[in-house]
């Protein structure tokens, strides 16, 4: 690519994609570089997925400011991205009189209409399964639940639709001065741009150090989670927070946009990019969840995972221009509530670049994204209609989440499309249900290889070397279709 971009964004997480989406509203040539094979592959893929309300902003911090700023974008984002956040509301549960003060603070901080402090009886009316040991609870109707994958991918798709270029699987390794512009060096190339935004999540401080800037290394704090079967749907209706003890919001229990229950996260220091789960961590998460819901059906766990918070010592966001490259902007320490704050961050980044000289001329031809139908959520008549249109709608490839061949093909062929099994999972929920790919794991690699024209053995789970299949067996298989 010899052309020169107006803006290069490094990192395809929710923040990078939100920035791409925001800047795509203006007349700009934009390139997004992502080191993994798909967007939403790092910090953004593993978190609680909550759009925290105004009660939960942190005063006197940049993260707090951007959190509030982001909330005013919610409706526009829902409309332009054709997604819907689940307005569940939240209960913060106090277990002693001492905790009451915290509930008061939340109420005053949020000033949310309809928010109130509830007596245990009232709280139980809202959430019958919560612990009867509670002293009081703060109800806040503003908290929303998002699918972190859906939001991240919708932002990427909308950005693509509006002209943003995506290069996936290409890691940025450094920067070079090119007269008044920046040369972004990758494993196998160089891309030129007037402006560069480093929002590389866990790698952001490393890249900032590479550009000669003085920033401490990130301290990844790991959080582990349990995912419960959709059969548990209805167990909780609101996001349930404990009154926090340490530096985070604590282990919470939350419904997800797809009807599962999410429990977590705990907080523990992690080495480097260690996203493994531990026996102790999962135990801690279970106990934390049971404090809120004593009858929590942990035997219905279908998956466990962990995510990393890319934190700096002061636990705030740090957004600053490089001292050596005046048009290179670093975003370091974007941890919780990064998902909530992503729209606010995007707008703030736009403002900062604009103040230094980036021209923001609003486009008149911005295209609204429309999301692809989700078979499981369609009324019966609509299903019938779609099958008559294309019989791939009548082929169920994942029985747990009722995903059809039509949806999988769309996810593979859309842009930026899925090129890995995990990418498919995050787009259409295959392999994410209770059998965890026991059934669709037989079909997907073959459907994927055929649709994309790839060799079956090249199909990967997520990383470049995460090959799914081993060698061919001694016998030649019949020509039957494998999906």
């Amino acid at each position: 690519m010899n052309e020169e971009f107006d803006v290069i964004i490094i990192g395809g997480g929710v923040v990078g994609c939100a920035i791409a989406w925001y800047l795509a509203h203006f007349d700009l040539q934009i390139l997004l570089l992502e080191k993994e094979l798909d967007v939403c592959s790092g910090v953004s893929k593993a978190n609680t997925g909550i759009i925290h309300s105004r009660s939960y902003w942190t005063p006197h911090t940049l993260k707090g400011e951007l959190h509030l700023r982001s909330l005013s974008w919610i409706e526009q984002a829902e409309k332009e991205l054709d997604i819907e956040f689940l307005k569940t509301g939240a209960l913060t549960m106090a277990f002693s009189r001492d905790d009451l003060e915290f509930l008061q603070t939340l109420k005053e901080r949020g000033k949310i209409e309809g928010a109130q402090i509830l007596a245990p009886r009232e709280a139980h009316t809202l959430e019958p399964m919560i612990s009867d040991k509670i002293f009081a609870a703060y109800y806040d109707p503003e908290t929303r639940v998002a699918s972190p994958f859906e939001l991240n991918i919708a932002l990427a798709e909308s950005a693509f639709l509006n002209g943003v270029h995506f290069i996936l699987g290409q890691e940025v390794v450094g920067f070079e001065e090119e007269k008044s512009i920046v040369g972004v060096l990758t494993e196998n190339g160089k891309y030129l741009s007037r402006w560069v935004v480093n929002c590389a999540g866990l790698s952001s401080s490393y890249l900032a150090q590479k550009s000669g800037d003085n920033i401490p290394s990130l301290r990844p704090l790991r959080g582990e989670y349990l995912v419960l079967d959709r059969e548990c749907r209805g167990l909780v209706h609101h996001v349930l927070y404990p009154v926090p003890v340490g530096e985070t919001k604590g282990i919470l229990v939350s419904p997800t946009t797809d009807g599962n229950i999410l429990v977590g996260p705990n907080l523990e220091p992690a080495e480097d990019e260690d996203t493994s789960t531990t026996k102790e961590g999962l135990k801690e998460v279970e106990e934390g969840g049971k404090k809120l819901i004593p009858s929590l059906p942990v035997s219905q766990t279908i998956a466990t995972f962990s995510g990393l918070r890319p934190t700096l010592p002061d636990r705030d966001f740090h957004i600053f221009f490089s001292s050596r490259f005046p048009s290179l902007l670093h975003l370091v320490g974007i941890e919780s509530p990064g998902l909530t704050a992503s729209f606010g961050i995007a707008e703030y980044v736009g403002d900062l670049l604009h103040k230094r000289g980036l021209k923001l001329r609003e486009r008149s031809d911005f295209v609204i994204r429309s999301s692809f139908p989700v078979f499981r959520k369609l009324p019966w008549e609509e299903r019938e209609r779609l099958i008559q249109e294309d019989d791939n709608w009548g082929k169920i490839v994942c029985r747990c989440e009722e995903v059809t061949v039509a949806e999988v093909k769309h996810a593979l062929l859309s842009s930026p499309g899925a090129s890995t099994l995990d990418g498919l999972k995050r787009r259409v929920r295959v392999m994410m249900g209770r059998c965890q790919g026991g059934f669709c794991g037989m079909r997907l690699p073959f459907l994927m290889a055929e649709t994309l024209g790839l060799e079956e053995r090249r199909i990967v789970k997520s990383g470049r070397n995460s090959f799914y299949l081993g060698e061919e067996t001694k016998e030649v298989r019949s020509g039957a279709s494998l999906y």
């Binding site: 995912v227 279908i302 099958i387 009548g394 965890q436 026991g438 995460s466 060698e471 001694k474 039957a480």
Partner: protein, 400 residues
Amino acid sequence: MAAALSSWEAGAKSVFLLERNEYLGGILPQCIHPGFGLQIWGEELTGPEYAEIFIEKLNRTGVEAMTDTAALELTPERIVKAVNPQGAWEIKANSIILSMGCRERTRGMLQIPGYRPAGIFTAGLAQYLVNIAGYLPGKDIVILGSGDIGLIMARRLTLEGARVKMVVEIKNSLSGLVRNYVQCIQDFNIPLLFSHTVTEVRGKERVEAVVISEVDEEGNPLSGGEREVECDTLLLSVGLIPENELSRQAKIPLSPQTGGPWVDEDFSTDLEGFFACGNVASVFDLVDYVTLVAERAGRAAVLARPPQEKHILRAGEGVHTVIPQRIREGKDGFLFIRPQKSMKGVTVSFWEREKIFYQKKISICRPSEMIKLDLAQIPWPQEKGEIKVEIKGTEIQGIS
């Protein structure tokens, strides 16, 4: 297929068989090993051969077999909604026979800590990949669980040139059939470690190793007993779960012991007009027994006898599950009992209140093998009520 056939033979006017795969036979077509049919055909068949018998029989009936058809909704009024490439279907039936089978337990359910790389498969998925798709799941393999599919796959993968490093079993006894141990493990010199489990998965992209640990009697890992085993693949053969999502939709009462509907000797559920046979009702050890049970369900679905008072069977000491758990008459049919432990010098006792009314002596029993009794040989009490089934004996460990 067996239920559809027997329904047809019992005089049903129309029978629809809904199958989500493109082919009939469920899991049988990928079970290319022998060992099927000894009980009912008196000869050893492979899975595809066993299935073929039924496919050929079905072809000679008016049973409408709809393959590639996924049943998505089921109502208590016996309406099933299904989709296939031809359309979305709504079918109302007088009787519905559930035979959805079971699924395999997963890594997520076991909550095995560590990374989430490629290379972790349930044994049945690996079996499909090898026998149908023509791919090995990997080269160096550790198998967790000594269930039958795991044992069978240990042999199959060895024959295909993979290295099965070991089978680890958390319990102190075999989960699968002894014949599978002898033919698949012993004959191929594959190490099998009892009282061991996998406590961590290592490798970020593809499995690089697993950590195995010795466990105490409760299955808790003992500290200091860990070691790393290098491998690129972890297969799980750690149990099966009856697949009853549709049954729950139809509000059919389910047994917490079997995970399937409560059934009587006709395999009629507690909800009128619904029958359940095979692994959807309770995980069976032999396909032959599944067939016997399905034939009864198929017939009963046509006869549609009115509801009546039944004996209620409870699993007592030493008993993991009993199926059926309801006895209508007890004049014909079978009772399958799965013991909790391997024992010798076994007595099976039937209690009515504080009194034993029937006992049966058996030399040996194992959790992997169901004890099959003829209902007619049991002198069922006149008055319908609760009956407790109990197994006592001397516990044995390991294989023998």
